[in-house]
Symmetry: C5
Subunit: 83 residues, 5 copies
Amino acid sequence: MEIGKIVGNVWATRKDPALNGVTFLVAELEDGKKIVVSDSIGAGIGDRVIITKGSSARNGATTKSLPIDAITVGIIDEKEGEK
Amino acid sequence: MEIGKIVGNVWATRKDPALNGVTFLVAELEDGKKIVVSDSIGAGIGDRVIITKGSSARNGATTKSLPIDAITVGIIDEKEGEK
Amino acid sequence: MEIGKIVGNVWATRKDPALNGVTFLVAELEDGKKIVVSDSIGAGIGDRVIITKGSSARNGATTKSLPIDAITVGIIDEKEGEK
Amino acid sequence: MEIGKIVGNVWATRKDPALNGVTFLVAELEDGKKIVVSDSIGAGIGDRVIITKGSSARNGATTKSLPIDAITVGIIDEKEGEK
Amino acid sequence: MEIGKIVGNVWATRKDPALNGVTFLVAELEDGKKIVVSDSIGAGIGDRVIITKGSSARNGATTKSLPIDAITVGIIDEKEGEK
């Protein structure tokens, strides 16, 4: 997983029909790269989150079979011990 | 997912038979890298799109079991809040 | 797989419900990149570990169907023969 | 998918038994990186091809269940509209 | 797939139980990056090998369902035609 910070939203009216109602956020990864993630845990701008990518993004509580490759799986409380 | 801009088309007469009728577009990612994506939502040159990669590209409305690894899943209306 | 060194912990109270009880560690890869990994083999800060990423992260002894994309699969005793 | 140019062949006598009869080509991607791809559409040196990577490489016409992660899926006729 | 050269071994006593008896080698990819691969074709230090990554690493002759993401699939005899 990677740590990212939520920095924006993105909207798409024309989209794959399976994605109606799915929230898309823009997350900035620790290397500065920005990706789009689906969120179902209530993350918002400014939150630091744990992001799961790839096929495991379809193992979220509400993401089974969706055409998505990145989701938020946790909002970070605290990190410790890292140099 | 990643955000890309559609910048071209690509045609292949000789191809895997499962890909007959599939549209291939060239998308430029935010880091400047160009990839080929399959499109079934009607994206065209100049559109900014959300792109899903990897196995989830086979979870599009019309892409089940295809030998493809990247699809457009949404045409972006607007982004907000991003620094 | 990649070799990483465990350098920290990360906690998230709000998370995907499937992740209750899952341990998250921060691992530094050999190129300096830091990722978050789930651990079920007892790795701790300072350990050098073998990390499996992608869908195979769901093939760990206790990780089936979890929305995670990186796990520790071994704690390294020794490396040999490497230039 | 990515666009690559076929620049060579590679042979392996000792290999996973499932790969007997599989053709391996060397493809140079647009960033200069060289990878090995399996081919079943008749691509040869000098051809520009569309390459599918990851699990979808097992969705080619003849590649089901093979331990391969990259295949040619089309030989490019023409590209248009790309800056 | 990628071409790598076997440059070392790595041992882990504490590991996921499914990995008992699995051989781990260190391979150096063409860009200099080192990864850990599982081997079941008899590769040894100094061999140049074809490496399959991702979910397809679980499609090796002896790797079904293992928590691994990279395997050797062939020992290279010869490459030809590459610039």
